[in-house]
């Protein structure tokens, strides 16, 4: 959806994605080796603009660019989607951060804070391809709870993949956030000191 949420963090912010980001999306998702764990996207700007146009029409979908505050450099992408306000749940994903960026932790922290404090959701979850061990390790390390294995959740290049679901309630987030915030602050101090 066309939202106007701009979420300011310590070193990074999340800002609404727009048509001008089409090239960035293609570059980030098309070139990074880790993109093999994401659904394929077209490498044409026109196709990407079509996708964005459809996204703008979805009322329960918030797509953000992760941007470094110091110089407004885009360094990643992250989304909250399938937002069901009736039951207070949403999935987060489409998450990818440039290999040379330290934005991973703060981007997730900002998004979950948005989900729980701005939207007032009760629970968020993510689905990660089971073979994406590094990202599953990240979720485990953050303290997100493993849910039921999602069999055949993804199909990429005609291959079906199971997904590991990680879940986090608002109450759990209150416990998890302070631990992550310490690391976010430490990274931010360093990044901001390089201004």
């Amino acid at each position: 959806m066309r939202h106007s949420y701009q979420l300011e963090g310590e070193a990074y912010r999340l800002r609404p994605i727009g048509d001008a980001d089409a090239d960035f999306i293609i570059a980030l998702r098309g070139q990074d080796i880790r993109a093999r764990f994401l659904n394929r996207i077209s490498s044409s700007v026109e196709s990407q603009l079509e996708w964005l146009s459809a996204y703008y029409g979805r009322e329960n979908d918030y797509y953000f660019v992760v941007e470094k505050k110091r110089d407004n450099t885009p360094e990643g992408l992250i989304s909250l989607y399938d937002v069901d306000v009736r039951v207070g749940r949403a999935e987060w994903g489409r998450w990818i951060v440039a290999p040379a960026s330290m934005a991973a932790l703060e981007s997730v922290t900002l998004l979950l804070d948005f989900a729980f404090t701005r939207l007032g959701l009760a629970e968020v979850y993510s689905n990660t391809i089971a073979g994406n061990a590094a990202v599953n390790s990240f979720h485990d390390g953050c303290g997100f709870r493993r849910g039921v294995l999602q069999r055949g959740r993804f199909k990429i290049d005609d291959l079906v993949h199971d997904a590991i679901r990680h879940e986090c309630t608002g109450d759990e987030w209150k416990e998890i956030k302070p631990h992550l915030a310490t690391k976010v602050l430490r990274i931010a101090k360093r990044i901001n000191s390089h201004a």
């Binding site: 951060v97 290999p99 040379a100 960026s101 330290m102 991973a104 932790l105 061990a133 590094a134 990202v135 599953n136 390790s137 990240f138 390390g141 953050c142 690391k183 430490r186 990274i187 360093r190 990044i191 390089h194």
Partner: protein, 76 residues
């Protein structure tokens, strides 16, 4: 200055202690799944403290293996 092979062993131990699993001198983020973005932060700051270094922002993200870190420690 320490020999590179000694540094690599030291750093492999440092990384192993943080990850809670044995990482050899060939260990790298691309091949050790538990060396994820979250734990990389701990690796970087522990490495800095151990060797009295202050990495640049780009180094923090680009040093992705035991050998990379040993190379950086050699430079001082």
């Amino acid at each position: 200055m320490k020999d590179r092979s000694i540094l690599e062993l030291e750093i492999a131990k440092l990384v192993s202690d943080i990850l809670g699993e044995t990482v050899g001198i060939e260990g790298a983020r691309d091949t050790v799944p538990s060396w994820d973005s979250l734990r990389h932060v701990e690796v970087i700051f522990s490495f800095e403290e151990a060797y009295g270094l202050r990495l640049t922002e780009s180094e923090m993200a680009s040093l992705r293996s035991v050998k990379d870190l040993a190379e950086r420690a050699m430079k001082g």
